[in-house]
Symmetry: C2
Subunit: 415 residues, 2 copies
């Protein structure tokens, strides 16, 4: 690999730790020294910034700024959801050549890994020597061949914590039902993570529904009714991408303009749809909550494990590139040992490019309304350990020493 | 006032600091000594617990538990939204007499203050000597005759922080529009507080709509369109109780079962309704977020000023009762000085009973799509000071030393 410049960009939806990976790339590139990596270039708004040559000099950013960026929501370089044309890949290699970029790091999800793979191919075709490394990032955890993706742990912690907090609210003011909508277009990883909110069996969430299984409305209403009869309340969690038995999004926005850069319609509204259904069909007061973007921007709920791992894959991406690796995505590999630890590995970009990992059957219960215990073992260490626990009053029963009269006559001599 | 027992209860929707007031009452009652206040009784689930005699002995709770309860979402004693019948008030006095309750503290909102007032009247009518003190609590800030209500500061801080975080997310991945729905059935105090998220003029929120002014859909679409044309993005904040020009809730759930104990329908859905409208009419991708209950249960966003003041009104309520005051609600009184400070005062319960304080005109801008600077001066100290600030990259422009060629020929000798 000839010595040259490095370019890093961020693609797709931000996560709470997407900037930790960016900082990891920059810090490790600086550590390598200018003889190996000269310029550290940032492209603004993902591939858009490469194609339009909107580039910044990241070596000039103060180390103190970088440590603060670590805790910043959104993508510090800006992001994009560009629909790529075939000629775009050649253009990117052209720009790389112009700026002597020899190392390209794309921090992103499935779509961005597809782009990175095509850039690597274009460079090979054009005979341009370039190391391309994908740095995985997604709140949805839907990238295959990695134990989990940086970003998921914090999103999972967000939804588990919020479900626990809402559970305490609902428990203290019965009888409502709350339907909470998590992010997750096609996969239920985030909805499943709310199971980590429970300390006792009757704790929220009482029911969890994921897009991996289409929803039978009758079964749903009967599930809710059963929980309500038992507890006098219910907290129900649903993924935004939940579909009915015909495979249609529940309550999704259907307008053309709501489609994203990849032509995908925006789901969302499942919770409000189902809350209204509960009110109407079961005659029970129900409301819905949909934190939406707050879940991936909510830096207060970040998982420290997630931050550390996101930073690590950024750093190791640079090392792997310097060792001569290219056309690969970084992965997290869970070690087979008692206490949780992940090391980093890699897979060819084509193995993950535009692929999607669904929740496996073994992580769901038979009834299709909850997770299995093996999911909990999988997920708990990723979110950085148990969700915050809250104290409650011991509620010592008051001991009466007098006997009641309904006359209003006071009997308080012994009390 | 004869020496006797104290009873405390919590009514209405919880806030992030409603337990701080409870702890204040308990701590001050203990401090007064058993000769003045003997039993410290908690009624579970508000007036329901009094009427049904579901009572606990709060003196037995460990001080360490009380300090933890301080940071617990939900109402630690449980709460209620009971539709009171006339005979209920006599029944409450009967129970008080049976347990020699001489001090009654009701922590709640407008509805609970109405109840407390009726209990005080019933005690007078029955010749039962009883001190009744209302301790204000509401996330909505709609109780009159107090500078603000405990609970509001934390809800305001929640929505301001989340709006800031979502703003950073939207800024980094244009071009979407996000419509954020705040709590606030009839008043826009919480929506208005999101204005505190801004550091620069173009920061989120770009537009704020409150229920004090009915919404013209045409005006709304034109406002959104203007912001979008200027910035290529928009973060719009709306209260859940926003109404159209005919006075109907925008997108509210209308089923009978969704009504609360006071027969009030559940609003909610304004944001998703308006996001769909933007997509449809303006052809711009728009989504909605509705944190809902997460906003009053989100203990991570609590305002320390709010906690301190909620604790203070609880403590002072006990002192005022011991001084012989009754039939009053505690208030926060802002001192006329440069640096913010509130002391406590009181108003007769009938002055606040079932009253509602709307956002005054002077706190809104002329256009009806934002707050005024006097609102910001009012609100900033209440939320505990500036919302968390985030760093951003300096984005030093990359300086090219070579000239571009579109041939793919590299010119990087000087770069």
């Amino acid at each position: 690999m000839p010595s040259g410049n490095l370019l890093v960009a961020q693609g797709g939806g931000p996560t709470a730790v997407v900037n930790c990976s960016l900082v990891g790339v920059i810090e490790e590139a600086k550590r390598a020294g200018v003889t190996k990596i000269n310029k550290i270039i940032g492209a603004l708004n993902g591939v858009d910034g490469i194609i339009d040559e909107v580039l910044i000099d990241l070596r000039k950013e103060l180390p103190s700024t970088l440590r603060k960026i670590y805790h910043m929501p959104g993508a510090a370089l800006g992001s994009c959801r560009r629909t790529m044309a075939e000629e775009d890949y050649g253009r990117i290699v052209d720009v790389f050549s112009k700026y002597n970029v020899r190392y390209f790091f794309y921090i992103g999800g499935n779509g961005s890994m597809h782009t990175a793979n095509k850039v690597a191919q274009a460079a090979r075709d054009l005979g341009y020597s370039l190391a391309v490394i994908g740095v995985p990032k997604t709140i949805d955890n839907d990238i295959p061949h990695t134990d989990h993706s940086p970003g998921y742990g914090s999103g999972a912690r967000y939804f588990a914590t919020v479900t626990k907090e809402i559970g305490l609210d609902v428990e203290s003011l019965p009888p409502p039902i709350s339907v909470i909508e998590t992010l997750g277009r096609n996969t239920g990883w985030l909805a499943a993570a709310t199971s980590l909110a429970r300390e006792k069996e009757e704790d929220a969430p009482n029911l969890i529904y994921v897009p991996e299984r289409n929803l039978s409305i009758d079964k749903f209403l009967s599930d809710v009714s059963n929980v309500y009869d038992k507890l006098g309340r219910a907290v129900v969690v649903v993924s935004e991408g939940l579909k009915d038995e015909q495979g249609n999004y529940l309550g999704g926005i259907k307008t053309e303009a709501s489609k994203d850069g990849f032509g995908r319609g925006l789901p969302g509204g499942a919770a409000s749809y189902l809350a209204e259904l509960i009110s109407e069909k079961l005659g029970i007061r129900a409301r819905s909550e949909k934190p939406g973007l707050a879940a991936r921007a909510g830096i207060e709920y970040v998982s420290s494990t997630d931050q550390r791992e996101a930073h690590l894959v950024g750093k190791m991406a640079v090392r792997f590139a310097l060792e001569g690796k290219t056309g690969v995505m970084m992965t997290l590999v869970r070690e087979d040992r008692k206490d949780y630890r992940c090391t980093v590995g890699y897979v060819p970009l084509e193995a993950v490019s535009a692929q999607e990992r669904l929740l496996p059957n073994e992580y769901l219960n038979k009834n299709g309304n909850d997770v299995s215990s093996s999911f909990i073992r999988y997920c708990l260490p990723i979110i950085g350990g148990q969700v915050r626990s809250f104290a409650s009053l011991a509620r010592h029963k008051l001991i009466k020493r007098g006997k009641s009269l309904s006359t209003g006559k006071s009997l308080h001599t012994n009390f």
